[in-house]
Symmetry: D2
Subunit: 404 residues, 4 copies
């Protein structure tokens, strides 16, 4: 029976890595024998295991090896192989597809870590650099890693249980004390600020519809957000709120079916189109408040990504979705935490780009939306089923006591 031996090292018990590897082997139909096992006797000691994997066929064995590789199981020998990309945006057949976990490749006996890992990409060697590139950025002739020999994945370590984020397990629940949870998220944001890592906010238009825009504005003005990802709708409704005030019109639009809210946001978009863009509208004194105004005056980067639902759109919207993705990618570097609020589309898109170590909080009033994000591979996300209005109000209130 064909076999191969792999090794595992790290906090493989408490991070469940060993369990997952053994489980994977059995599910797919293989067998294992643990040939060596050094248990880390305290929380600071690493454990090591050597596992002999066997399977009925060579093909099945290769499949198992491929799967356990993604949980960090390492074949002792071997270096990466590459093949040239056959055309721009086209990869060689057997290309290695990345996960969002920390990944290294062995080249000439040396492990080289990949700097900005992202799931569902290729690994490309270009000018002595090892890059993680989405398919469309690969150029003809680029050397692309194929197969999985020589690629090492480091599974997520269990969080330190004293960490403010540690009690948030990757599950979804509605019946929990959100006051405590939001306080812990505020603490995590503060920690990011202190560590110098960046804070991303991803938001949907329900933030404006529910009247929570002013809390997001306060977060930005308070210096708690480094970059904002949103779509045309959030920006347009935010600007509508600024231009058409909190007067009678707004109360109607929230509480009253007769209101002609659709016109207001169209007129807001039209006004900004006339001005040439959001920045121009701020500079000319036309736009004097709101989330987008705060971004401009505080010089916060933002990416407004287009979608097929868009009216207008605003001139600042990147209507090409691949160009918008690439603009988002540039902003993902150095993130410590990502807050995703009330948007399935932008949350999933952003989740796809984040390395697994970025603390990710996904807030939605609908459990289904949160489940979808987790299902899409952003397993590190913590899902909080609640109103964006409540979340943001509490968050602002918690952060007010903490200097940015």
């Amino acid at each position: 029976m064909p076999f191969e031996t792999v090794s595992l090292e790290g906090h493989i018990i408490d991070s469940l890595t060993l369990s997952k590897v053994l489980d994977t082997i059995l599910r797919v139909g293989g067998q294992y024998q643990i040939t060596k096992f050094d248990v880390g006797s305290t929380k600071n000691n690493l454990s090591k295991a050597e596992i002999k994997i066997s399977a009925d066929t060579e093909e099945l064995l290769q499949q198992i090896l491929h799967l356990v590789q993604q949980h960090g199981a390492l074949r002792s020998e071997g270096e990466i192989s590459t093949l040239p990309a056959p055309a721009d945006g086209v990869l060689p057949d057997d290309f290695y597809a990345t996960t969002n976990l920390e990944t290294s490749v062995r080249i000439k006996g040396i492990w080289r870590p990949i700097e900005q890992i992202e799931m569902d990409c290729a690994i490309v060697l270009r000018n002595e650099e090892v890059l993680c590139l989405p398919m469309h950025q690969v150029k003809q002739g680029d050397e692309v890693v194929v197969g999985d020999i020589g690629v090492r994945v480091d599974p997520l370590q269990r969080r330190d249980p004293t960490d403010s984020f540690s009690f948030m397990e990757s599950d979804v629940s509605t019946e929990r004390n959100k006051t405590l949870i939001i306080a812990a998220i505020a603490q995590s944001i503060k920690t990011c600020r202190n560590e110098g890592s960046r804070i991303l906010f991803v938001g949907g238009p329900a933030i404006i519809h529910t009247g929570a825009g002013l809390y997001l504005e306060q977060l930005i003005l308070g210096g708690w957000i480094d970059v904002l990802f949103a779509g045309n709708a959030l920006a347009a409704h935010d600007i509508e709120r600024s231009l058409y005030g909190t007067s009678l019109g707004v109360e109607l639009s929230t509480g009253n079916a007769v209101a002609h809210g659709h016109e207001h946001h169209l007129r807001a978009i039209n006004t900004i189109r006339g001005a040439g863009g959001i920045k121009q509208a701020v500079t000319s004194g036309m736009l004097t408040s709101g989330i987008m105004h705060a971004c401009i005056t505080k010089s916060i980067d933002f990416v407004l990504a287009g979608s097929i639902r868009d009216d207008g759109p605003l001139p600042d919207v990147i209507s090409d979705s691949i160009a918008a993705q690439d603009a988002m990618r540039k902003q993902v570097k150095g993130l410590g935490i990502a807050l995703m609020v009330a948007t399935t589309l932008h949350s999933v898109a952003t989740g796809n780009m984040l390395p697994a170590h970025v603390r990710t909080v996904c807030v939605d009033s609908d459990a289904d939306s949160v489940i979808k994000l987790l299902d899409r591979g952003t397993h590190q996300a913590f899902g909080l089923v609640t109103d964006c209005e409540y979340f943001l109000k509490e968050l602002v209130s918690n952060l007010r006591g903490l200097a940015a």
Copy 2:
């Protein structure tokens, strides 16, 4: 072709009554002719219509007449008929089944209104009184109204558009400004207080799980609640919170999967069982805070209805569900508003008992639960999809400014 003429009177255009009657006739396969129509020319004038309904068969005609009767269409002539109940808790075959709309019966030429109308009940003449009784309360020989001749239903009138409740239409939405909505609900509660009508709170255990119990306690202490409907779980978890404090234990139980919360609530129940009841535990100084403590010290009526999920239960729980229903029925008189928070079971049960004119607000974090209540016939309910924690916190904050 058989026909019958019915009349409609009231705000039949703006309360949609006329539309519903015409629609009903056509759907079931009948035809109509509007033979008279006096339109109320301003909002203060009533409209009157006379409609000739015809159908292919006498049977279909009777079915249509029965259906439009429930929208307020009245046959000109006729008095009620009755038959004696054949046994205790058993009605004669053709008994009239009530709606939750204001209803009168014609006896000896006089319209007699039914005092406490409830859906799905029978109308019984007992000792000169006209009673609306659930099936199990009917005694052998009671005179029960059969057929629908001589029964008049007054459809719900449209609310005055300047009323604080009027902008809440009976629909369900998650993307609305809840701050405004909760402020309007607070205003409605205040109005009830001023009018001297009673305020009912129906709550589920998620109120405690999410840490919102203290807001409900504040509502009771502030004099804003006249009666509380709940189950064993709300009371048990509230008492657990009081007995086991807001210390380490509680923080673990909310944020931490390792906690043994199931034991705490069992121990709380066991303690109260040992004491003989909640009142005894308060009197003896054992229970010194929380929702149930507030009910006892403020002499607020409560009904704790049993369910098959119950641990224990607490001695104060009425474990027989029919007895619990009857205890709830007694408390429904004179209600102006019913707040139903985070409980599908108790909300539906209570909704079944409420006359349609009681302002009903149903709050749940899950849109489905709210939809279920509306589907079950409590059409007057206003559904608010949000956290009970957020709802109660905002409500307390709104009511604080208003003297009870």
Copy 3:
């Protein structure tokens, strides 16, 4: 007190138009007097009303007139006014914003209907034509209708109650007999086919994830679909299913967490990118089954609209969202029915483009998604909360008996 008289005509009672107009006036703070009223005495007779609207200020009166105009209330006199667009993609300030209801404009005493009405657009006079154009399609100097005088909106008429679609009211419910509902939808599709109107299918990738792709393939092969709107994900997962078979791999990917499905879909996308497109892959014999294969072989139009979540994307995807919108717009002409299944993004985007008379069915397993579509203005949509798998399986089974 300033006043104006408007007229209403049509099935204004049973289509609720009159009720809505009166309600609107009162809510906003105006008063009405019904000065004439001719009731349509049977279902085939039209009713007519003349309503004198008054308000405290001229401004409020104008606001009321604007709102009731959208329910079909017509001022007796007047023709449209226009102003030139100040720049490409920018409208004059007071532009008339369209609804999705049938709309006509009065020019030189003649009512001219607008051919393809769409909500949130402008009305433009260009070369003797009256066009409904989204903002971005307007060119500098185009004559754009401003104000609402001379614009007539025809409210949706109530459906004939014997119509197979009539029992589906615009609400959302989970507890209904879906077998009956799906049978009625099948009948509506058949009716569209007979009437010669077109059938649109809008679908999300959950159709593939749940194994329901084969039913959609059968609908296309059976001639029941005229045009397909989807995104990169539906097409990519469909092609993945075709290329990687119903073998072990696929069964694992559906039932088993260990599978590396993310790689399969990347490899599928890469393969099609290598081939140059879906059509090329079909022609070359590389792609031999599935939804996209069926579209190609049956010459069914499709629009694959890009989004920021996309991997790849497939070469057939229109990654610019405004270009994708315009491609969708071209396909909307002549539609009789739109089936929107398991996609909030594409459903809302499509809903925005549809005239209100198009029968619209929105199917999602999550009540929240369905509610969102209705909230976004596609009020004519019928929401069905169920599995796409169940919906499509039943639909195919119902349509099998009916010749296309």
Copy 4:
């Protein structure tokens, strides 16, 4: 620093037991040292670990020991202690509260397993027997186990990966191939049948509302159900369907808002009350089809538990909820699988009673309901978010091929 040594034995790696124990220690603030570790080198070998746990205070140490005891960690020495119950239905203060995991107690050096374990109960020694009793069944003077020394909990073992149930992990997802999942559930039912273990069906009234009652009837007639748990509503609506036929009336009630369905079910209940009960109605030839008819004719046990929502209720309903619980408890013995469909109340109540080894499938169209069950401690449950209509139709279709 106080310390204690515990041992763990079994499939402690792949069932995650070891990970959970170490995690628990760290979270609560303790420290560990793994003093011995024998790894089970293949899937058939057991692993053994000895762990020295230390904590800053004796109190914290005891808390940790209590928590890890529930994951199977065993203190080497010690026997159980007991105290007498101070009154009927009241337990001594420090009573041991059970989990739903297999549990044994050490008495005179011998481990005695508890026969029918249920969570949230007490362990009572009565007449040489070791019983797991809910609080209300304990009598004054009963010897009740206190503390956790001498109590052993056996954590759930990982399922054999070739088992048809193994691919269903305890999570909730909407985007999965339900056809495959339902086929596996059918296979599990078949396996239960072959092994001679019993099959429980727990159902809510949506089964009837959606027209799926006939599939449940077929399951019962086919011999696939041993016991049915439901409430008044399921039985009443089932009987309504039988008595009032599949004629025009029923079609209206499902598709049409004008129908007076509330009367039909009241009349159905009244009819059965008049007959004296369901069995009498079957015997007298009054009730000739439906779910309840099938239970009577096939002599299937059923428990109809009362709730405060009930109309009537039917004479067969046990309206006292504690009596209903006890009736359910009697039926729980020997169960192999529990199917819980479209009812949160009965599912949670039943889940509370089931030992963790019973395969539990919870089906609901609403993800929230499924999440609630898992949150309530029935961690072994597999949640399937789908229509009950689809689930039951597919299940019947799958089981038809398999002889009962």
